[in-house]
């Protein structure tokens, strides 16, 4: 029988953001080597390898259909890998499924609450199934409900909750058994911007309160900024892994968006006069150049196309994605939307 406590001495140093795998206190929370998943003809995950340190918040960023959910479902023991191996909380996801499951918390894309039970009943159901010791149960219940601001609503039927409240309750439930690793699959998808930022403030608060590793997937660039490190995944492969800051610094160049009267001529001019490759994105001629502000006067002087407006911006994760995959995340989603019509989790659950 394993005994785990979530208590950590306050003097224990927290892993620094961007800590590379292997640093810190020994065992990695998540360790993945050449993980693959094939559904018939489709290679959903094509040999990914990475490590997540304990206490780290690690994000998988990529368009829908990139293999994020498939990877997460293999790590959660819900899908069997067709190649490679993965360890979560020190246990093999194929050979030690129950050991892994006991140590992870899951928040799925789609709600998995019982609408006809109260918030408390949903959490109690979870606690009983995960064998949480009765002695500390009431205290833990209050703790997680207060963390997500639902303590006052504990007696309410879940069917009366808003979408944001349900998502918060699911996060609380995922924490009920004090998991070592919390998996959040698109934790804010389908929520309005205000609720999304609320969810994030709860997640950030949770990082401070619990000794927990958070593994999340998202296709929102702004959400990836909350992570200590992110892996950009595209077409079932990891393109790059680093801290958001390092990734943006790596792009090096500023993004310049120019609105002109003749976009084609402007793009030709940029290539001929300055040797810059430009793309047409959302009605603006877009290109990347170092020292964007200094470049603008030259642009006006030398580009023989009437310019209506210019915008210079520091690189964002969008640019990082662009720099590594050659397209924006929105373009990537448009092209891959038909590839993964249903999430593999839904298929896995329905096949049973």
């Amino acid at each position: 029988m394993h005994v785990l406590t979530t208590t950590r001495a306050p003097s224990d140093p927290a892993p620094s953001p961007g800590a590379a795998p292997g640093e810190g206190n020994g065992v990695l929370a998540v360790q993945v080597d050449g993980l693959e998943k094939r559904y018939g003809e489709i290679q959903a995950v094509d040999g990914v390898s990475f490590g997540v340190s304990q206490g780290e918040t690690f994000g998988f960023l990529g368009p829908n259909g990139a293999g994020k959910s498939t990877t997460i479902s293999m790590l959660c023991t819900l899908a069997r890998p067709t190649g490679g191996r993965a360890m979560v909380a020190g246990y093999d996801v194929v050979r030690q499924r129950a050991d892994v499951r006991r140590r992870i918390g899951l928040v799925f894309q789609d709600t998995t609450l019982d609408d006809y039970l109260t918030a408390t009943e949903n959490l109690m159901f979870h606690a009983e199934l995960y064998g949480v010791e009765r002695a500390g149960l009431d205290r833990r219940l209050q703790q997680v409900l207060e963390m997500v601001g639902l303590w006052e609503r504990r007696g309410g039927l879940v069917r009366t909750f808003s979408g944001g409240m349900k998502r918060r309750l699911e996060i609380a439930r995922g924490l009920m058994h004090s998991p070592r690793v919390l998996f959040l699959d698109e934790p804010t998808v389908g929520l309005d911007p205000q609720t999304r930022s609320h969810i994030w403030s709860y997640i950030n608060q949770l990082r401070g309160q619990e000794d927990i590793t958070i593994f999340l997937t998202t296709h929102y660039m702004d959400e990836a900024e909350h992570c200590d490190r992110i892996a950009i995944i595209d077409g079932g492969r990891i393109v790059v892994i680093d801290t958001p800051e390092a990734l943006k610094a790596g792009v090096g160049k500023d993004r310049v968006e120019v609105r002109t009267d003749d976009d084609v001529a402007a793009m030709r001019g940029l290539l001929n006069e300055f040797g810059l490759e430009a793309t047409l994105s959302e009605g603006a001629v877009t290109f990347h150049v170092s020292g964007g502000e200094e470049f603008v006067p030259r642009l006006f002087a030398e580009l023989r196309v009437p310019i209506r407006s210019v915008r210079v911006s520091r690189p964002t994760l969008d640019d990082v994605f662009m720099a590594h995959t050659g397209r924006t995340i929105r373009d990537a989603e448009a092209s891959s939307s038909e590839r993964n019509a249903a999430s593999p989790w839904m298929r896995a659950a329905r096949r049973r």
């Binding site: 199934l129 949480v132 004090s178 000794d211």
Partner: protein
Amino acid sequence: MTTTVAPDVAAVRLAGGAWQDELRAARMVWRREIIRFGRNRLRIVTSLAQPVLFLFVLGTGLSTIVRGGPATSGSNFRTFIFPGIVAMTVLFSAIFSAVSIVWDREFGFLREMLVAPIRRSSLVLGKCAGGATVATLQALIILVLSPLVGIPFSAPLLLILVGEMVLMAVALTAVGMVLAARMQQVESFQVVMQFVVLPMFFLSGAMFPLTGLPQWLTVLTRLDPLTYAVDPMRRAVFAHSSSAAHFATLSPGVSWFGWRLPVGIELGVVLLIGVAALGIAIVQFSRPD
């Protein structure tokens, strides 16, 4: 990142996969069924309307044309169908409870159960116990009406009937679980109703005695598991009913090739079907992805 770790985070012991943990999980799955049943008053009322209609409207109406005619008191035919109506209540409720797992799948809650670190058999057993309890509770409400159809309250009779109801409820919920295991859509429930539940009800002898039927119908009635649950209840009712003598012909029992089965064998058949169905359901739900 500044990390301040609260020193009072509750310490939590995790389950180690012992049988106590499995039992605890199964009991929670069972409790959820009871909580949901208690909360759904509408379901309780609607599911009682049908047996009451069958018993008092159909039962009274048909009693004018059954053997003995109107001269025999109408309550006699109602006495005859009463065990059948109790069986119907158990059948509908048990299948509905089991098939609710398809709703759980549709609305995602099934996944919460499937990812838990417990055996699938604990889930199936808990769900089955929950469905059986709910079905028995509903049939108990019908049982309260028995004095109205000429069956006096008596402790031994009630005990026998409740025991038979529990057995039937467990077996039928298990059968329902097998049906639900492969069911992907809520709409399939209609198919189960039309092609499994209603034929089971009609062929069981709930509404008519199983003697003097054409050969093909006799064969079908003997293949119906519910037949072996209705007959023991009817025998018990007639053994304790004042009008038993009139209806000896209406309760001829179930025979295989001319051999009248003892009650013990009949209940054994029900038990066997229940255990087999439970086994199949566990295998189906344990199948890995």
